[in-house]
Amino acid sequence: MSKVRVLVGTRKGAFILTSDGKRDKWDVSGPHFAGWEMYHLKGSPADPNRIYASQTSGWFGQVIQRSDDGGKTWHQPGTPPGEPVAPGPPKSESNKFAYNASPETGKPLTTHQWYDGTQHPWEFKRVWHLEPSLTDPNTIYAGVEDAALFRSTDGGMNWEELSGLRGHGTGPKWQPGAGGLCLHTIVLDPSNPQRIWIAISAAGAFRTDDGGKTWRPINRGLKSQYIPDPNAEVGHCVHHVAMNPSRPGVLFMQKHWDVMRSDDAGDSWREVSGNLPTDFGFVIDVHAHEPETIYVVPIKSDSEHYVHEGKLRVYRSRTGGNEWEALTKGLPQANCYVNVLRDAMAVDQLDKCGVYFGTSGGQVYASADAGDTWAPIVRDLPAVLSVEVQTLL
């Protein structure tokens, strides 16, 4: 019997929601790491019992947590599960994210643009997104604020920056969005282990074709009226990028404003906002089995971060964009003013495809029929930061 495990990160802890394949009755465990901001949790596709979590705090900084038993117990990589470590030198630096410096001068690799246009040094704040390798449970990528990409190949014990991204030349033009200068999206290509896409607010989308050594911006076709040159090579506030693994060259993007599509691995983009009531938003995801079926949650505007007209509506396109239908059955259609953040939507692999999202009001909604009908799994969690799903067959 198949199962699904929904991993929910919130402002005040993590929650794990489990159900069988019917997805109508749910067990809720948590809060795990109570009181901490849990930006993201994600399971390894190569070993579903291996789950990584980003635990963060304005007071105490960044902590990486790992479970090897499907979320029952957790430990910081390098320390024994659930136990204080024996005296002696630290066995890992699982929460050390040190930016690379110039090998020639020892000085910082570069600076980035600050809100006021001046240059500002990179300062590590937190891990926004964890992306486990598709094939190796011990290899995992971390997208961090200030924007950079790190990789661990020892199960999260030690991290190394893939500094070709920050250092390729456009770094001084990157600037923080309202949420900070964050690398929030990491997409791995199942057909080509050398290819990775990432996205940064507010710099744009980037791609490597050599396993992370070299990178280039892939923002042709994006237009952003809020930057001096609307067609600039970098500076776009990309909110999220999604891909169906069966079609690695086709990408869908929710930009600050505009829903975009690329059919050439990001080399060029075209707008597919179509008949959406507003094309501002954060999340975007793709149906597990229908690569032309995509989902967004339109948000009213960049100054009013809640759903349009007080109605919580997921919009679905079955045509890869442009033609959208509102999905409302089971969702509040009056007096609703929640937001859905960029990592807070996910799909499962079951047939019919399940779709899940979490809100700033603490609800996690699930649809077991690809969005036709919805029901809350939980209603009163802390504000939801991220939702991921594991399909356990």
Partner: protein, 98 residues
């Protein structure tokens, strides 16, 4: 033995009680106390001091003998009462909330 009082979240991370006792070689300074603490509880590395700069994290404060030591040099010897274990060394989260 130097006694250190940890804030609640760090107790959870360290799987420790609120007060931990540490062997610290004299001269006992804030730096040597934190070095000993991180040696005993490596999971606290980076949570009190920045990994790279070793600076105190901005929302944490240090107190000893009812005085704020947050802005003292980390290499200044702490009061004798702390070094002897008569008084604890406090690591406190800055107050924020409403």
């Amino acid at each position: 033995m130097v006694r250190v009082i940890l804030p609640p979240h760090l107790r959870t991370l360290a799987h420790a009680d609120s007060e931990v006792a540490l062997e610290v070689e004299p001269p006992v300074t804030q730096r040597s106390i934190l070095d000993a603490l991180e040696l005993r509880y490596p999971m606290l590395c980076g949570t009190i001091r920045d990994h790279v700069t070793q600076n105190r994290r901005p929302f944490l404060r240090f107190f000893a003998c009812e005085e704020d030591w947050s802005h003292e040099s980390p290499d200044v010897p702490v009061p004798a009462a702390v070094a002897s274990g008569k008084e604890p060394f406090f690591i406190v989260g800055a107050i924020a909330g409403g």
